[in-house]
Amino acid sequence: MTLTKKDVRKFLSEYKIVALLFIIVIIWAFFGFLTYDSETGTSQFLTTRNFSNLLRQMAITGMLASAMVFVIVAGEIDLSVGSLLGLLGGIAAVADVTYHLPLWQTITLVIVMGLFFGLMVGWLTAYLGIPSFIVTLGGQLVFRGMVLGLTGGITIAPVGPELRYIGQDYLPGWLGNSGGVLLFLVLAALAFWTRINRQKHKLVVPSMTTEVGRLLFAGALILGFLLTLNSYRGVPAPVLILLVILGVFTVIGNKTTFGRHIYAVGSNMEATRLSGVNVAYVKMMVFALMGLMCAFAGLTTTGRLAAGTPSAGMGSELDAIASCFIGGTSMRGGVGSVSGALVGAVIMASLDNGMSMMGIDTFWQQIVKGIILVAAVYMDIVSSGTQRN
């Protein structure tokens, strides 16, 4: 009995991501079964169209969750991202609709503003020592107030076609395909370059078959992903942006000193400081990154709605935070991955999408999502139990 419990724990802590993917499969199978239509012999949930929609729905939450992972890993929290998204989306709409700025100027403006507000929050937290919970709770009100002031409480529309493209459009099939091929080639090159380097430093390398197997698996994933999306209308632009963010952030987390320091700060801040790391700077920059992601999410939201609305992004900080926790980020800091958070975002979006499709009331959707969040964190506590014993 105890043995099996231990085994489950071990499995959960070592293969968190596998467990999560398994949960996605269960959720999809569940909704696929419930929305099965015996007349046409297809399931409404399991269509390429719905898959595309689902990814588009999760893209904005995913952008926020990607940076939120780093914030939580560093031992902090950011409750202001929903409001900041609204504010930055509003700025984009005003710049586009009222001032007719060219797209590149709008984007630059929004990104600069996002970084500015992120740095501000980070500075208050890291250098003035105000707990991030308080700073960002205040920020939530301040930013939301600013959107209301900026837009005068009304929807600002219609935004120009270029900005709309970011939020709504699809990549043509050939572009998606060549992107996929390029990605595969880069992965392959990286794998073999690493291998050669490891051999040069006399480090253990995995067997050639494992290496090739891994690459083939990645290739199959990319291929399946592209085929599915292309058979509908192609890769949605926000999803492409999200995938690029996933790549960049994974590299930041694993391959840069900044990323390593984020994990160290969250695991033991004092020991990290005593190792000679500038911990305040690391924390501030984590919030700056969060601000940058709010800018991306704000632009995408405005593009998708083709308008700047004062209520944009309302409550999306909670979705982002929940995605991180579902995706295995530890609330104690020091542990978490961007890919995990995105899988968490897919789970949340799948629940939303599936329940809406079945016509379940929104109140039920909220109840279910709440329960899933608490259960996911419990899973984290159970699986990290092994580390403490």
């Binding site: 430093h201 590299v251 840069t256 390593r260 695991s267 020991a271 005593l274 790391v277 580390q387």
Partner: protein
């Protein structure tokens, strides 16, 4: 029947097979004060934890007789009900509650409606304070308004309120001023006159000599002796405390000592919370290239605080000048120190040394990670190769280089932390209790490393509470006590007695 209030016979307590105390006896008569003496880590605290049932009956062997009956307490509540009350070294006060609320915490008098009866509580608190001749304390004010000494007395009032028959004072005066200490000692004498018994644990032997009737000395967990104070003096107690053989663990190979590399002048640090109290008081010293400078002293002497100040991590107020290679340096953060070539292995490994969830290897490279980057990206292969070198060099026993460091034994964690602080190639290495809580094998490795570093010309400042260690590997020994520098000896013919006497602030005659 028995004229003893408390008899502890043959108490043995082990932790995973390692005996912390072994066959200790302690007897206390009514109205008697027993001084309990021993070096840091001798087993005094363990013995008191056995007595107060922090370690419940059954987790240790031996027998405790309380008023002639065998005591089989399972928790602190039961020992307190019997009348055994401990006052710990660190005050256990809730600063924002009032004096009266602290005294009655957990035993608040209530009105019939179930609310706290503040009138009765305050009146009784005032009565207690009057018994302690502390009528000037306002029992309705929060405790943080009062100094450490007054708070100590509030703690005693709390004990009186529990009808204590035996009061255990664990280093009660370590944070008190001279006049506060005198008040406390007078009070203990008065309690004795009223028939209360007392166990007084202190490094300050003059205090022990003043109030103890009997003295029990323990060393390395074993019982060394119990004698009436009348037959003893402080010199004799010191000899009993340290009189052990030096084991040949230490390598002190001859090495060249060069010019002065680091100099600290008039360092003073103030306590973080009590901003009036100096924890380091006007300390100056210098250290030479290739020199191992030991810093001895008892717990609370201000050694760790001094190290923190030098490394840039002291959070309280501080002043003083620091010179490296003859140039004044300004270290405000640890990272400045590391950059200049001053590294520190902190005392509290768990809180300040390791980054628990990270791999051993990533812990080791933490302070020099930039070295392994190219174009902003970490070259994992280069980093891993260096990690393997370090693991082999330091003999860190780990199944995999990237296993979370928290899963390693204390000794191996310590080796990794030392490796981390050696990678920046320091000119000055501060080691704060480098061998605390690690096994003999790992200790030996660390001693060997220190000697090796000295040969390479690194200046090593080693703080240690283990006297044999300090005498075994230092070229020179600084002794600190109550924040002040009380001795600066060349380590030739230096004895533990001499060092301990200096630490306590009581120079002894050569005859001892």
């Amino acid at each position: 029947m028995s004229d003893y209030l408390l008899e502890m016979h043959d108490i043995t307590k082990d932790f995973n097979g390692v005996k912390a105390i072994d066959g200790i006896h302690l007897q206390v008569r009514r109205g008697e004060c027993v001084g309990l003496c021993g070096e840091n880590g001798a087993g005094k605290s363990t013995l008191m934890k056995v007595l107060s049932a922090v370690y419940p009956y059954g987790t240790w062997s031996g027998q405790i007789l309380w008023e002639g009956q065998e005591l089989k307490a399972r928790n602190i509540r039961e020992t307190e009900e019997a009348g055994i009350v401990i006052i710990h070294q660190e005050l256990m006060m809730v600063p924002h509650l009032t004096v009266a609320e602290n005294i009655f915490l957990g035993a608040e008098p209530r009105t019939r409606a179930g609310f706290i009866d503040y009138d009765r509580m305050n009146a009784e608190a005032e009565k207690l304070m009057a018994r302690l001749k502390m009528s000037d304390i306002n029992v309705a004010l929060p405790v943080y308004n009062y100094s450490g000494g007054k708070q100590q007395l509030v703690e005693i009032a709390k004990a009186l309120n529990k009808n204590a028959k035996l009061l255990i004072l664990d280093e009660p005066t370590s944070a008190l001023t001279t006049s506060e200490t005198k008040t406390l000692l007078d009070l203990v004498k008065e309690f004795k006159a009223h028939g209360m018994a007392c166990v007084y644990i202190s490094h300050k032997l003059d205090e022990v000599a003043e109030i103890a009737d009997t003295v029990t000395v323990i060393r390395d967990g074993t019982h060394i002796g119990t004698q009436p104070m009348a037959e003893l003096d402080t010199n004799k107690i010191i000899t009993m405390m340290v009189g052990r053989e030096m084991k040949n663990l230490f390598l002190r190979e001859p090495h060249a000592i060069g010019e002065v590399v680091f100099e600290a002048k008039n360092i003073t640090c103030w306590d973080v919370t009590n901003r009036e109290r100096k924890v380091v008081d006007d300390v100056s010293f210098e250290i030479r290239k290739g020199e191992v400078l030991g810093v001895a002293g008892l717990v609370g002497a201000g050694r760790t605080e001094l190290a923190c100040k030098l490394f840039g991590c002291w959070n309280g107020d501080h002043e003083g000048k620091v010179f490296l290679d003859g140039k004044e340096i300004f270290v405000r953060e640890p990272r400045h120190a590391v950059k200049l070539g001053i590294c520190m292995v902190p005392e509290d490994r768990k809180r300040h040394g390791i980054i628990p969830l990270m791999g051993v290897g990533y812990n080791i490279t933490m302070s020099v990670l930039k070295r392994y980057t190219s174009g902003g990206f970490i070259q994992s292969e280069v980093e891993l190769a260096e990690i393997q070198n370090q693991i082999i060099r330091m003999k860190v026993k780990t199944a995999e280089p990237l296993l979370p460091i928290a899963s390693l034994s204390g000794g191996n964690q310590q080796k990794a932390v030392v490796a981390k602080m050696l990678l920046p190639e320091p000119k000055v290495l501060i080691l704060d209790e480098p061998t605390r809580g690690i096994d003999v094998g790992a200790k030996y490795e660390i001693y060997k490393l220190i000697s090796e570093l000295a040969k390479q010309g690194v200046a090593v400042l080693m703080i240690s509470s283990e006297m044999p260690e300090v005498l075994g590997i230092s070229d020179r020994v600084l002794v600190m006590g109550e924040g002040k520098l009380r001795g600066n000896f060349v380590n030739e013919g230096l004895t533990q007695e001499k060092v301990l006497a200096a630490a306590i602030g009581q120079p002894i005659t050569e005859a001892a």
